[in-house]
Structure formats: structure tokens, C-alpha cells
């Protein structure tokens, strides 16, 4: 893409980034994180960097600040900002760039704000320390930015501490912090990934509005192609630290050249017809309420049911009580009111009161497979434990069954003696599934099992779950915040909001109009792989509110 030299703000040439890793028991070795990446960014434009985890997108983003995270160091190439190679500036020189000409917005604003200081102080800190503006000017600019970003009561917002505002507000405050010193370039590192869809759309719109308003250039890093399509002018697709494809947003979305890009564009195309017969009930939850001891009801009078061999998807934002419902069903959290029936028979409320067989029939898969496994046990131990606990298997018999399960999850015997640390994210989740299957359960509760995974890996896990359902007729309660997953796998759907059941029924009913307000908002907030989707949603909203 040849552009006149004068408008190019950032020019990255043949970037190479390496890190030293220390595998246990082996000599340290150098790993290449990013290799031979080049791109140009014009003033006021947005470039989207997209790829799965490990693709090197954050590492490339941080190179615009000449920063290597966790031992990564830039070992080759140039990063030209206004024609100056910032890699050659040295310790003190680079400080005049960071927080001044280039700013950074982190993925988790909740972690990136210092809990000990007020938001306002943190927002204006860089402007003051670099001597860009006086305290009054900076405070005034912060107020302006809080207003542009749509934060509530912008006059007093800066007086609050990070723990006093919501996640979406923090993410917008972080954007304000990056915009405050009037930088030429902002690096957005997955700024909406940790947010609920309904919040994501607001933050996305606020960010887009603010960078247009201030004419700032941006690198926008994300793993969600649908999100980046809304905000960027150009897109670079990365994989394993190398460029896969680099072009305009329109070309990447509508006419991708590479297979990998096509796979990203077409992800989540899995569709499943819902079961017609939904009468043979396995699980029945009646009027269940539950809370955590401080009088606040996290679940308020929830009733639903699930037929045998089918999938019930529970959708809702964080705090809607969907994970609590799973805890109630397993017995980890005894409900304060209501009953849970399994094949018509009432289950004891508390975990301790249930028999071994009742425990066996309900298994669980967690969001973070990492933390749900003992890092010091091999795959053999992890899968073998339920086999000896529920069925008393041992020796060759047990090994045989473990191998069978490994085959079922499409991994196989070579993985028997691996430790979780030696598995990829998707493989860990597969082992977790095998552990649940080992108990021969009738119901598996899946608590966001794919939300920590990259889209293509997640799709593999979903297909595996569907395949296992066909083979073993197991039922799933699938907790998720992702409507696309619901469309892909569910037979019936429950929409939850603030502890209440908003909508429940067969998928075709729940996901088709007429909608209640909340379901409508939820469905309309899911980004679509379409340029201009954000604008059209915002326009509809404005028209709707004007019409009222």
C-alpha cells in the first residue's frame, strides 16, 4: 500500500521479537514470538491486528511502545514513529514516547488501574508528568473525555476509586486515560474482550466515537474478527507470529485470500436443529431461589427443565446467576427454596446428603480447565480418579478405559502420561471433558467451557460435545454468554437476567420474535461479521429512543 510519506505515522519494518524460555530440566532456549512483520499506519487511521492467542498480536502492539512483556525483547527490525526509530532511543528516550505520543489500553482495565488511587488522578497523571498540560488543563480535558465516552456524572467520576465503578466504565476510563495526553497513536489490546456483549457494544461505540473525535490513530488488537470489522480501516491477520494476510477491512471480510482467514470469517457456522420431542424430562428445577448468606437473592424463583439426551443453554451476562444455578444443581450451594428433581426423584439439596450414585450422574466442566486440574497429576491420574472412585476400576482395566476415553476425545494414548502444563488450552478442556465422561454421567453441566478458547479451538470443542452427545445420549446444561454458541448447539434456551428467568423454551421460540426487551437487547448486541453493523445498530437505537 503505497502512501505519501508525510501522512504515515507508524511504520513497522521486518519486526522480530524473541523471548528466552526456561523449560524445566533443559538449557534455556530462545523462542521467536514474532517474525518478519511489517505494516504502515497513517495518521488518524485504525489498523486491526487479529489472531488467536500466541499469534503475537499483543507483542506487536506493545512494540509500538518499545516494550517487551515478560522477558520478550525486540531483536530485529525497525519501529518508525514519525520517521524516528523508537527502538534506538534508550531507557530515558523511550519515556518521552510512552504515555505522551503513544498510549496503551489494556485488556483488563480492572487490573490495569491502580486500586490505591482515584481514577481522575490516574487519568491525568501522564499528561502532568510529561509536562504536556497544567493540572487545570488536564482536569478539563479529562472531564471532556469522560463526557465524550459517555461516563455517568463526568464531573465527579474522577473522584472515584477503581473498585467503585463497573467493568464497562473502567474500560472507558482507561480509554480516557490513553486519550488524555493527546497522543498520536493508541494501542488497544482487546479492550472489550472481558466485557458482556451488551456492555461491549457501548464501549466499542464510545471508543470509535472518541478516536474519530480526536483524530487519533490506533492499533486495535482482538481475536474477534466481527469486532475489529466495526472499527478498523485495515486488518492484519496473524498466526504463530507471522503475517497471514494484510489488507483493507472490506477485502479481508468479504474476499479473504487465505484459508486461515476464511476459517476465521466462517467460524461459528455450526448449526443444529433442535429436537422435536422435548417431553422425556431428565432434570427439573422448580421455583429455586438461592443466595450467599447476605440476604441478597442471586437466584430468584427459577424453574426450568431439560429432556433426556438434549441440551439446555443458559444465557446471560456476568452476575445474572447462571453459574450459581449450576452450583445449585450440583449441590455445591444448597438452594434456600425450591426443589431439583432428577428423573422425577427429588435430589437432596446439599452435596453431602447425596449418594455416590446421585453424584456420579451429574458432572461438571469448568471455564478454566487450567485451574480445574491438579497441575501435578498426569492425564492418567486426572481421568483415572473418577474411574476408581465410582467404579472401583484398577490396573490394566483402568488403563484400558482411560485409553478408550482418550480416543473418544480425539486425543489418544500418547497423552496418557502428560502433565496439564504440557497440553494446549483446547487439549486441557478435552481432558476435562473426558474426566466428566469417565463417570458415565447422565447430565454434564458445562460452565462456559469454550469462552477462554480461541474461536477455531472452541468450535472443535463444541463439535466434540455434540458428537459425544450422539454417542452416549448425555444431556448438557450449557452455560454461556455467547448467542452464537446457543444457536449452534441448544435444543432449549433459558435467558437469565439479574437472577431471574426472563425467557425459557425451545430454541426456535426463544430466539425468534416477539422478544422481551432484555432478550432483544442481548441478541442485537452480538457483533456480526459485517462492515457497518455497529453504525446500523446505533442508528436503530437512536431512532427507537427518538420514537419514544
Amino acid at each position: 500500500m503505497p502512501e505519501p510519506e508525510s501522512t504515515t505515522l507508524l511504520s513497522v519494518r521486518n519486526l522480530k521479537i524473541e523471548a528466552t524460555s526456561y523449560p524445566p530440566g533443559e538449557p534455556p532456549k530462545t523462542v521467536t514470538l514474532v517474525e518478519n512483520v511489517s505494516f504502515d499506519l497513517e495518521k488518524g487511521k485504525v489498523l486491526g491486528l487479529i489472531g488467536e492467542s500466541g499469534a503475537g498480536k499483543s507483542t506487536i502492539g506493545l512494540s509500538a511502545l518499545a516494550y517487551g512483556r515478560g522477558g520478550a525483547s525486540i531483536t530485529g527490525g525497525q519501529v518508525l514513529l514519525d520517521g524516528v526509530d523508537i527502538l534506538t532511543l534508550g531507557r530515558n528516550g523511550i519515556r518521552t514516547i510512552r504515555g505522551c505520543k503513544v498510549c496503551y489500553v489494556a485488556q483488563s482495565a480492572a487490573a490495569a488501574f491502580n486500586p490505591a488511587h482515584r481514577l481522575g488522578e490516574q487519568v491525568i497523571e501522564a499528561s502532568l508528568r510529561h509536562g504536556i498540560m497544567t493540572r487545570e488543563e488536564a482536569t478539563k480535558r479529562a472531564l471532556y473525555l469522560f463526557t465524550v465516552l459517555g461516563l455517568p456524572s463526568p464531573e465527579t467520576f474522577g473522584e472515584r476509586y477503581p473498585h467503585q465503578v463497573s467493568g464497562g466504565q473502567l474500560q472507558r476510563a482507561m480509554t480516557a486515560m490513553a486519550l488524555c495526553p493527546n497522543p498520536e497513536l493508541i494501542v488497544f489490546d482487546e479492550p472489550t474482550t472481558a466485557l458482556d456483549v451488551t456492555t461491549q457494544i457501548d464501549v466499542l461505540a464510545a471508543i470509535k466515537h472518541a478516536i474519530e473525535e480526536t483524530n487519533t490513530a490506533a492499533l486495535y488488537i482482538t481475536h474477534d474478527l466481527a469486532v475489529v470489522a466495526q472499527i478498523s480501516d485495515d486488518i492484519m491477520v496473524l498466526r504463530h507470529g507471522k503475517t497471514v494476510e494484510y489488507g483493507t477491512t472490506q477485502q479481508i471480510i468479504e474476499a479473504p485470500n487465505e484459508d486461515y482467514t476464511r476459517a476465521l470469517v466462517n467460524v461459528r457456522q455450526t448449526k443444529r436443529q433442535e429436537a422435536v420431542d422435548q417431553s422425556d424430562t431428565l432434570l427439573k428445577v422448580d421455583n429455586v431461589s438461592a443466595g450467599y448468606g447476605n440476604g441478597f437473592k442471586v437466584l430468584d424463583n427459577v424453574s426450568l427443565h431439560l429432556p433426556k439426551g438434549q441440551t439446555l443453554a443458559i444465557v446471560g451476562e456476568s452476575g445474572s446467576g447462571k453459574s450459581t444455578l449450576a452450583r445449585v444443581i450440583t449441590g455445591l450451594l444448597p438452594p434456600s427454596e425450591g426443589t431439583i428433581r432428577f428423573e422425577g426423584k427429588e435430589l437432596p439439596k446439599a452435596l453431602k446428603a447425596r449418594t455416590k450414585d446421585e453424584l456420579r450422574r451429574v458432572q461438571m466442566i469448568y471455564q478454566m480447565a487450567d485451574t480445574a486440574m491438579n497441575p501435578r497429576q498426569t492425564v492418567r491420574d486426572i481421568i483415572g480418579r473418577p474411574l476408581s472412585f465410582y467404579f472401583g476400576l484398577r490396573g490394566a482395566q483402568k488403563t484400558e478405559r482411560i485409553k478408550e476415553l482418550l480416543d473418544q476425545i480425539e486425543m489418544g494414548a500418547p497423552f496418557l502420561d502428560r502433565y496439564p502444563a504440557e497440553l494446549s488450552g483446547g487439549q486441557k478442556q478435552r481432558v476435562a471433558i473426558a474426566r466428566a465422561l469417565a463417570a458415565k454421567p447422565e447430565l454434564i453441566l458445562c460452565d462456559e467451557p469454550t469462552s477462554a478458547l480461541d474461536p477455531l479451538v472452541a468450535e472443535g470443542i463444541l463439535n466434540l460435545l455434540l458428537k459425544l452427545q450422539e454417542e452416549t445420549a448425555v444431556s448438557y446444561v450449557f452455560i454461556t454468554h455467547d448467542i452464537a454458541i446457543v444457536r449452534a448447539i441448544a435444543d432449549s434456551v433459558a435467558v437469565m437476567h439479574r437472577g431471574r428467568l426472563v425467557r425459557f423454551g425451545p430454541k426456535s421460540n426463544v430466539l425468534s420474535p416477539p422478544f422481551d426487551d432484555y432478550t432483544d437487547l442481548l441478541l442485537k448486541s452480538v457483533p456480526e461479521m459485517k462492515i457497518g453493523w455497529l453504525e446500523s445498530v446505533l442508528t436503530t437505537r437512536r431512532m427507537a429512543s427518538a420514537g419514544n
Binding site: 510512552r98 504515555g99 491502580n114 490505591a116 450467599y292
Partner: protein, 370 residues
């Protein structure tokens, strides 16, 4: 956000008083104490509403109540423990001439024939008003003697503290700024050496160099009533130096570890990406979040400076509390032992409570509830 409540383990809906215990870093000493102790007659629901509305005040009240209760329990243990000690003042005092009749007389003189509970109540009643009775050995008022000794001990501890605490924190921050480089290594090695040598050895070394060979310091460090302030200062120079060397390393290393721990957090990265200077990152962004663990270690060391310095006092012939108590133990002078024990315990509890309170106040989540 994840503000729905504790999600570890099944929550018990029964305990009415477990209201405001949702802070991660407040308590280091006693994990699961019954908070009911602090509240006394206050009923569950009133206390709970109060602790939800004013979490900070509720926690402070709780700590204060807990300290008082703890002090009471300690007084029981000291009294009981001293009673259970083998040996007897009368036999020690009389030595060879301890006829059963003479022993009996002395016991009666000292009121040891009264029942234990009665003696405990009258002792505690006196102690609350600052009267610890009379010493069996010297027949003087214990409070009067202790007052002077305690003054000396506090004088020593105070100067050791105002030198060692800022020095330890500053060195800790310096070590972080130059971590794994030469200054960090020098600070580490020197402080480790200081902590590894026994305090009497450090003391004698200092005496050897500064008092004997160079002749710039005074030894022994005994202070008298007639001494002026300047004279006192020069007298305590060596014991203060010894104490500083002994307590410095512990606090310094804790400061370093706590700040390094915080340095790995995302908000320090944010500060770095704002282009702030290394010193500002450590002092403004890391240090405030490392306060809680550091304060606890400082409190323990301060308590040591008051309570645990008997060896240093003996080496430097310094008339402090520790020496007084050890002397009293050897002659089984129970009122003195009990009084010293109780005062030491009070200091220990008070300093730890102060550390707890400071750590609680340093937590913005409690200072500014949602």
C-alpha cells in the same frame, strides 16, 4: 462485575455476625476469630447493618474489642503460668534457713494463703488502675520501678525504630529499583550477614571497634537519672546500632518482596507504559499496595525492640525492662514477673492491632465502600 459475594465453599446462611468479612488482606495474625467478641450486647442484625454501612468503623471496633479480649486472656495465662511455676519465693528467699514455719510465715505475709481466684481478681483490679503491687524482693512499688525501666526501654526502642524503619523501607525500595544488579546484591548480602550473626556477637563487635579500638563510643551504656539528653544519646549509640542491624534485614527483605510482588501486577505495567520514572513507579504505584504486609513485619519488629531486647540490654549493661524481668525470674519475685509479662503482652497486642488497623485503613475498598 464479580461483586456477588464469596464464591468459595458453600456459604453458611446461619452466622448473623459474619457480615463485613470480605476483605482479602486485612488479617495476618488471627484468621477466623469470632467477631462476636467485639460486639458484646449488640444484636446480630443491628451489627450486621452497621458493618454493611460502615465497614471501616465496624472492622476497627472489632479489632479494638478483640485486643481487649485478648489482653484479658493473656492476663489469665500469665497469672496461671506464674502460679504453676515450680519453686517458691519463700524457699528461695530463705535459702538454707527455710524451716516449714518460716516458709509458712512468709507465705502468710505475702497473702499466698488466700485462694487463687481471689488473688487474681485483686491483682487484675490493681493492674487495671496501674498498680501492680509491691515487689517481694525489694518491698518497693512495682509500678514505680517499672515506670523508670520501661522509660529506658522505650527510649532505646524509639531511637532504634526511627532509624531502622525508614532505613529498611528505603533500602527495600532501592533494592527493588536495582533488582538483581549490584546495589541490590550488596544490600542483600550485608543485611543477611547482619541477621545471621547473633545479636550479642554484633554487640561485642561494635564494642570492640567503636569503644575499645577507636574510642568514639561510650561503654557501658548504663544511663542514670542525672544524665542529660545528649549524654543519654551518646550512651545508647552502640545498643541502638546493634538493634538496628538486627531488625533491619527482616523489614528490608519484606519490603523488597512485597513491592516486587506488586511490581508484577498489570497496573505497574500501565505506569511503565505511561513513561513514568522508575522511582515514581515504585514509590507511588507499587508501595501503597505493598503496605499491608510491610506494616505487619514492622509491627513485629517494633514489638521485638520493646520486648525481646534482653540480650542486648545485658551485653551493654543497659537498665531496661528485659533485664529487670530476668532478674525477677531468678529470685521468683512474682509481682514483678507478672507485671512485666502483662506489659510486654500489652505492647505486643497493641502494636499488632495498630498494624492491623493501618492495613485496614490502607485498603481503599474499605475506606471508600461502593
Amino acid at each position: 462485575m464479580a461483586a456477588l459475594g464469596p464464591d468459595t465453599g458453600p456459604a453458611q446462611a446461619t452466622a448473623a455476625t459474619a457480615g463485613g468479612e470480605s476483605l482479602p488482606q486485612s488479617v495476618a495474625v488471627s484468621g477466623t476469630e469470632p467477631p462476636a467478641m467485639a460486639t458484646g450486647p449488640v444484636t446480630g442484625s443491628v451489627w450486621r447493618r452497621f458493618s454493611l454501612r460502615r465497614p471501616l468503623a465496624a472492622l476497627i471496633l472489632q479489632r479494638l474489642g478483640l485486643s481487649v479480649g485478648l489482653l484479658f486472656a493473656v492476663s489469665l495465662m500469665i497469672f496461671g503460668g506464674v502460679e504453676a511455676l515450680p519453686g517458691d519465693f519463700a524457699t528461695t528467699y530463705l535459702g538454707q534457713s527455710a524451716t516449714p514455719q518460716a516458709v509458712e510465715n512468709i507465705r502468710k505475709d505475702l497473702g499466698l494463703d488466700r485462694p487463687m481466684t481471689e488473688r487474681y481478681v485483686s491483682w487484675l483490679g490493681g493492674a487495671v488502675q496501674g498498680d501492680f503491687g509491691t515487689s517481694w524482693a525489694s518491698r518497693n512499688s512495682v509500678s514505680e520501678q517499672i515506670g523508670k525501666r520501661l522509660g529506658n526501654s522505650l527510649f532505646l526502642a524509639f531511637f532504634a525504630a526511627i532509624i531502622s524503619v525508614p532505613l529498611a523501607v528505603a533500602l527495600g525500595m532501592l533494592a527493588v529499583q536495582y533488582r538483581n544488579r549490584l546495589p541490590d546484591k550488596i544490600i542483600n548480602v550485608v543485611s543477611l550477614a547482619a541477621i545471621s550473626l547473633p545479636e550479642f556477637f554484633v554487640g561485642y563487635l561494635l564494642i570492640l571497634f567503636f569503644a575499645v579500638q577507636l574510642g568514639v563510643a561510650t561503654f557501658p551504656s548504663t544511663v542514670y537519672d542525672s544524665m542529660g539528653f545528649g549524654e543519654r544519646l551518646s550512651a545508647i549509640a552502640l545498643p541502638v546500632a546493634t538493634l538496628v542491624l538486627v531488625v533491619l534485614a527482616h523489614m528490608m527483605r519484606m519490603t523488597r518482596a512485597a513491592i516486587l510482588n506488586v511490581m508484577a501486577s498489570a497496573y505497574v505495567e500501565t505506569a511503565e507504559l505511561k513513561g513514568l520514572s522508575a522511582f515514581r513507579i515504585i514509590a507511588r504505584h507499587a508501595a501503597p499496595n505493598a503496605v499491608a504486609p510491610v506494616i505487619n513485619v514492622i509491627a513485629l519488629n517494633l514489638a521485638y525492640l520493646v520486648v525481646g531486647v534482653v540480650v542486648v540490654e545485658v551485653v551493654f549493661v543497659y537498665p531496661g525492662m528485659g533485664q529487670y524481668m530476668v532478674d525477677a525470674v531468678t529470685v521468683r519475685d512474682m509481682p514483678v514477673v507478672q507485671a512485666c509479662g502483662l506489659i510486654f503482652a500489652a505492647f505486643y497486642i497493641f502494636l499488632n492491632m495498630a498494624a492491623d488497623l493501618l492495613a485496614i485503613i490502607a485498603n481503599p475498598r474499605l475506606r471508600h465502600p461502593r
